[in-house]
């Protein structure tokens, strides 16, 4: 803490003193192991259960948690600082890697924000294909979640089915964009390329397979009584708490809030051209969150089917200058990403690159609720709750 060394804040008022002292005390609390009661258990950062390097410090009393707190930052890559030295097209290759399972979905809000600032609209064909790839990335992301959910709870078989069926989607994404995990396909003004021949029919076949997969998982995992007894009533998040913490995506809809950015927001993408159902669940427990995600995956396959039937013909790229300079302004765009609401607040100064990009990632807010949520639960429930909240480390730590 070098506030006192900062020449600007050398003249400290009472308020700065207070905040500095508070931060020092908080640090001290964390670093001292108070062995007066209970056992302090460190889950992670290397652990089979956490989706990456998340460290949870839990104070236990037997099997019950007295308090638990995630300690993030093992994967912090400094994205917001990195965007300041990159040009606008270069930023997309960077932000692909925030949520690496549904990578295409990360690029879209940023590209839309840049297009908003430039006043450029991508041609309809590009918007439709963007939406299709967006939904495919959602399917790829959430189908892994469904498999992983089983492993967290002890059912080791569904994960293999998930990976097997996810391969089809990844192959589709690869044939269209050239990259399985990091497509880097979106460009300001449209897409890099058009779809390959035969892709549409292939995708229809794959969507059928994915629907079968959803049905399989529903009967194998969700119908299982042990799964239900492990997830029902665990980690209930009431609606107003979810609002305060900024939970988004399936976590919010599982608490009964009927809010889906695809339906409730004006967007140039093609979601308003298709019919889809927004799934909610009144309970707000872990089962609700998992169940909502399952239904959303199935719904995504139906969205892709509808979109495939109606792709308009035309170019995939609008006329944009070769060296892109975005005029001065600020823009906020957020979309309904697989993990939740992901948004970018882009500040531009008329340069070739952004002045400041604030990346609002869904998992950061989703996990910020865990200190409140994990008091009083059992150790196995920590895993269940984290599994149901579903986060990607790159999304939390950026």
């Amino acid at each position: 803490m070098t506030i006192l060394n900062d020449p600007v804040s050398a003249k400290l008022g009472d308020r700065a003193q207070l905040s500095y002292i508070a931060s020092q005390a908080a640090d001290a609390r964390l670093n001292v192991e108070l062995e007066t009661e209970g056992m302090t258990l460190n889950i992670g950062p290397q652990h089979p259960a956490t989706h990456g390097t998340l460290r949870i410090i839990a104070r236990l009393d037997g099997e019950q948690v007295l308090w638990a707190e995630p300690s993030c930052g093992y994967m912090h890559r400094g994205y917001e600082k990195l965007t300041e030295v990159r040009s606008f097209p270069q930023v997309t290759s960077l932000i692909n890697r925030i949520d690496w399972l549904g990578s295409f979905a990360n690029e879209v809000p940023f590209i839309l924000a840049a297009e908003k600032l430039m006043g450029v609209e991508a041609p309809p064909r590009a918007q439709w294909i963007r939406t299709i790839l967006f939904e495919l990335s959602r399917i790829a992301n959430v189908s892994l979640f469904l498999g992983d959910l089983g492993v967290q709870l002890g059912a080791i078989t569904p994960v293999f089915m998930a990976f097997r069926d996810r391969e089809y989607v990844l192959n589709l994404i690869e044939s269209a964009t050239g990259g399985r995990f990091h497509p880097n396909f979106d460009r300001i003004g449209g897409l890099k390329d058009d779809l390959p021949a035969g892709w549409i029919d292939e995708t229809k076949v794959v969507m059928k397979k994915l629907r079968n997969f959803c049905d399989e998982i529903e009967s194998l995992l969700f119908g299982n009584e042990i799964f239900q007894s492990r997830t029902r009533g665990i980690g209930v998040i009431p609606r107003d708490v979810a609002m305060q913490y900024g939970l988004s995506g399936a976590n919010l809809r599982a608490s009964g809030v009927d809010w889906d950015l695809r339906r409730d927001q004006d967007s140039p993408m093609a979601w308003n051209k298709v019919d889809f159902k927004v799934w909610t669940h009144p309970d707000g427990d872990s089962f609700a969150r998992c169940w909502v995600r399952l239904q959303e995956t199935r719904e995504a396959t139906k969205i892709v089917d509808q979109l495939l039937d109606g792709i308009p013909a035309g170019p995939v790229m609008a006329k944009v200058p070769k060296i892109i300079k975005v005029p001065e302004g600020e823009a906020w765009v957020s979309t309904e990403n697989p993990l939740g609401e992901m948004g970018y607040y882009v500040v531009s100064r008329g340069d070739s690159g952004p002045f400041r990009v604030k990346i609002r990632s869904a998992s950061f807010n989703n996990i910020s609720i865990t200190p409140w949520l994990l008091r009083g639960v059992y150790v196995p429930d920590i895993i269940t709750i984290l599994a149901s909240l579903y986060f990607i480390l790159g999304d939390i730590d950026r």
Binding site: M39, E63, L153, R164, N224, S229, Y378, I383
Partner: protein
Amino acid sequence: MLSLFAVEIPYWGQSLLRVLGGLVAVLLPAGTIVYVFLFKMMSFMQSRLGPMEAGPYGSMQLFAEVGKWLQKEDIQPDNADKRIFRMAPIVVLMSTFLLVAVVPFGPDAWFTDFETGVFYALAVSSISVLGILMAGWSSANKYSLLGGLRAAGQLIAYELPMVLAVIGVVIQAETMNLQQIVVAQNAGSIFGTDIVGNPYVLTQFVGFVVFMIAVQAELTQAPFDMPIAESELVSGYMTEYSGFRFLIFFIGEFATAGVFAMIASTLFLGGWGVPFSWFGWTTMDSVDNWMNVAGPLIVFTKMMVLVFLIMWIRFSYPRFREDQLQRFAWKVLIPISLANIMVTAVLKVAF
């Protein structure tokens, strides 16, 4: 069995044969179970092939695994209680060997013939609890401790349904001698017909189900694998073990599964025998000598069937939480098995 060869073998020779036989009786099922169920069946259920490289269809994978574990470094944590740390795997495996000593493999192919075989079997099966506790405590690792404590609670809780389920069999057979139980099943008749003998799985169906559930819990297999819960505790009480000691735990897990299945097949499915009426035998003495060779094969087959059940459930179900597990044992299984005993006793007297 010795009369089969009509050869006088000195006493030390007999003991040597018994020791070798015991090793084979424990390790052969363990190896077969690991290969058939863990490598192949689990893979097929998960739509993959499993090990295919080592030997034809991966049949030598087991030896490759053993070799791999043997050549690993033996790491012992600094803070670990060294003596207990080293003893724990041996205690766990020891209980398996003790258990297989009472399983009869044929009319004359047995290791020991206790009058109180059932009592002895249930008693020594709980020695592994000690081994697990020793492993969990001495590892100087909070995860292992959690796993060991969970295991202690779970294994002791599920001892009771196991014992109570077997009491029904004992009541029906009127003896605790495992050899006599086999004979009683195969020589008996059910509903007036002796086509299938009297396997106690038919009359003691409730006891069989309770026993199999309790066995699943005693082996800490899913859905009762809280002590090993891989996604939480890495390996629970086995976390700090490496190399040869881990191999002993590994073998012990599957060997115990095999031996428990053998006990279950002896108690419920008729053990080494086929219904005596098929060959016109009436009592134990009239059984032919070739049964001493066929008996072990029959036990092996029945064991594989039961282990298939155990493994199938293991690969399909998520795991119970510790308190749900305990609730299941104390509030569901024990009352059911007590009711089973009462009904058996009443029916025994009535019929």
